[in-house]
């Protein structure tokens, strides 16, 4: 009895020691340090000619974006932070928007209390936060809406956003050109959208379908994923199964595209031309290397967050955009969706996230 209990305690000691050792080892394993900071900013430098870059009156910019759940939103927040840090005359106050519109509304009220000069806001939902925009504008704080529009024009001073419909148009245009070059008259075209219930996904798909139909093409198979790698892999494996031969594929999001490419590789399928979406650094590198089916990606760049901070600073200082004639910042800016191919990937690589 004594013997056995001693054995037990020794076993426990060994087990505990092993657990402790594994714990120490694993804690060290959470480091990601070799990852380089890769924000997309415009340095605030330049000579006397760069009038807007010269330090001016101090501007306090309040910023709020939803908690990042994937690469794009993560890049939005880090870009905004980095761009603000590039200006010596900008003070950056950020509140994370939490999980939904209600949480963001609560977070924004704490932001108001810090008396910012301008607010840059990526709302969870433009419709739900429209009232906040009206309120802030009425209180004399200009609001820069980032990407998700308020329905009411009085709710924002300036809006900067991407072009979802244009993404679909750009992707379809590239695919049509490729098919014509290859002499494929009735191509089999697949599509892997992101979360299908979102308005932005529907706009992208509409732009894609509209442009294709103008050329007499249609989308044969459409299997939605959910913007994540594993759902992309899942959707692609089933899409490839459904069409034994495919000529072209548009995948809406480069993050989920990692999974799409993995599925193509696992199925041993390389016969199609793939176009991505958003413009991640990984996708651009893949396009440059030209070893996978991914031949192009259409941008929806999170660099818009950096630009939004620059615009907010100009608004705060009462300046216009130097190259335009107008003395104030315009009301609306819609980024064009550009097509990145092997030829121009090196130019765009710095905008990849």
């Amino acid at each position: 009895m004594i013997q056995s209990s001693r054995d037990l305690s020794r076993r426990r000691l060994l087990l505990g020691g092993a657990a402790l050792g594994a714990g120490t080892l694993l804690t060290a394993c959470t480091s990601n340090e070799s990852k380089a900071p890769d924000a997309q900013i415009k340095p605030a430098e330049g000579g006397a000619s760069a009038g807007n870059a010269a330090p001016g009156a101090k501007v306090v910019i309040g910023f709020s974006a939803p908690a990042a759940d994937h690469g794009w939103i993560g890049a939005i927040t880090s870009n905004a932070k980095a761009q603000a840090a590039a200006y010596s005359d900008v003070e950056f106050k950020s509140v994370e928007a939490g999980a939904d519109a209600a949480a963001q509304r609560a977070a924004l009220s704490t932001l108001i209390a810090q008396k910012p000069n301008v607010i840059v806001l990526l709302p969870h939902d433009g419709k739900e936060l429209n009232a906040f925009g009206l309120e802030a504008m009425a209180a004399g704080i200009p609001v820069v809406n980032l990407d998700r529009a308020f329905p009411d024009a009085r709710a924002y001073r300036t809006q900067i956003k991407g072009d979802n419909y244009g993404m679909g148009v750009a992707a379809a245009t590239y695919i049509i050109a490729q098919m014509k070059a290859k002499g494929v008259s009735s191509p089999i075209i697949g599509e892997i959208p992101g979360i299908d219930s979102l308005e932005l996904t529907q706009e992208r798909s509409k732009g894609f379908a509209d442009t294709l139909s103008a050329a007499g093409f249609t989308v044969q198979r459409r299997v939605p994923a959910e913007f994540t790698v594993d759902t992309g892999q899942r959707a692609a494996s089933q899409l490839l199964q459904a069409v034994p031969r495919m000529d072209a594929l548009w995948n809406h999001d480069d993050d989920q595209g990692i999974g799409v490419l993995a599925a193509a590789n696992q199925a041993g399928r390389t016969e199609f031309v793939m176009v991505g979406g958003a413009g991640s650094k990984k996708a651009m590198e893949d396009i440059q290397a030209d070893k996978s089916p991914l031949k192009a990606t259409v941008t929806y760049s999170p660099s818009m967050a950096s630009s939004a901070i620059s615009l907010a600073r100009l608004i705060g200082q009462g300046k216009g955009m130097a190259d335009l004639v107008e003395l104030q910042v315009p009301k609306e800016i819609v980024l064009a969706s550009e097509t990145i191919t092997k030829e121009n990937a090196s130019t765009y690589l710095k905008l990849g996230f």
Binding site: A22, S31, Q220, V229, D230, A242, L261
Partner: protein
Amino acid sequence: MTLSDGTGTAAAGLPAQSPPVDPAQTAAGHPRPDDLKGRRASRGGEAGESVKRNLVLVAVLVALIAIGAVTQPQLYSNSTWVWNNILSILQLASVIGVVTVGMTFVIIGGGIDLSVGAIVALAGVWATTVATQSYGAGGMVFTAITVAVAVGLINGLLISYGKLVPFIATLAMLVAARGLAAEISDKQTQMSESSLINGIAADKLLGIPLLVYILAVVAAVGWVLLNRTTFGRRTVAVGGNVEAARLAGINVKRHTMLLYGLSGLCCGIAAIMLTSQGTSAQAAMANLYELDAIAAAIIGGTLLSGGRGTIVGSLLGVIIFATITNLFAINGLSTEAQNMVKGGIIIAAVLVQQFRFKAVSQFLSRNKT
């Protein structure tokens, strides 16, 4: 689910009614002869019920494949394609299948684990950090398994020794583990640079993907563990009647803790598989796997209140779901319709599970006399 309130009145009253039979023995299909006389519903009959239930699931599977063959005859007429499609379905089922094996044990043992998806994500992310990857594929596998088992054991500790309701404890773990995963990955997708890890999903052995072998091995080990070891008998006993199991001398608390550790182990294996499939890991991966795993176990005939369930049934549940996904994809139908069908199938399956085949035959034989 009734584990944490072991002092419940219903459980306390039971030992007086039933003789103190070792529940571990009766549950495993070795009833004592004198026990048989008293109870006509012998355990052999119960096993027969589960075989019949599984046959119903096989019939559903065959029906689904038949629907596919009727709707897409040009695809199904090509035998190479059909074989590839079967492999594709099995690959689709592999990751969630491994998670479901662990989930089946937890549910049979009277608990529930809502944190499986989050554990998969945390283990995957932890295994693909730059620091972990510097130790190579072995280091990544070790990390994923250790992290997942540790999180599972923490769940178990909270539930058995902290007396938390499993639903609450694992729900809290779901939130916390996803948070930690997002923190470690800095919300970025982490690419796996290890060709060994990435090869798990891409490579085949004798024409069959390695992922399918992994699922087969995990399921086989799970089957043996549940049906041929004292661990399995104890699991059924604990899930069937906590108080009786305790009186029979089973260390219920430790056993419950180990069950959650086992679920964690399955999540760790699944994390490696999923990382390999996507050649990367991110905090948002394996989203809602807990619901898929629970649904598959329920379809497979596992009682949500514990004490009954089979590995084969759960696997059939997973494969049925994967076949539906496949069927909808090859027909180009929307996800919305697919989700509605899946919901309908869960309801139908539970109705079938409640159906007692023996009651019908008993009714018939009684009418004969």
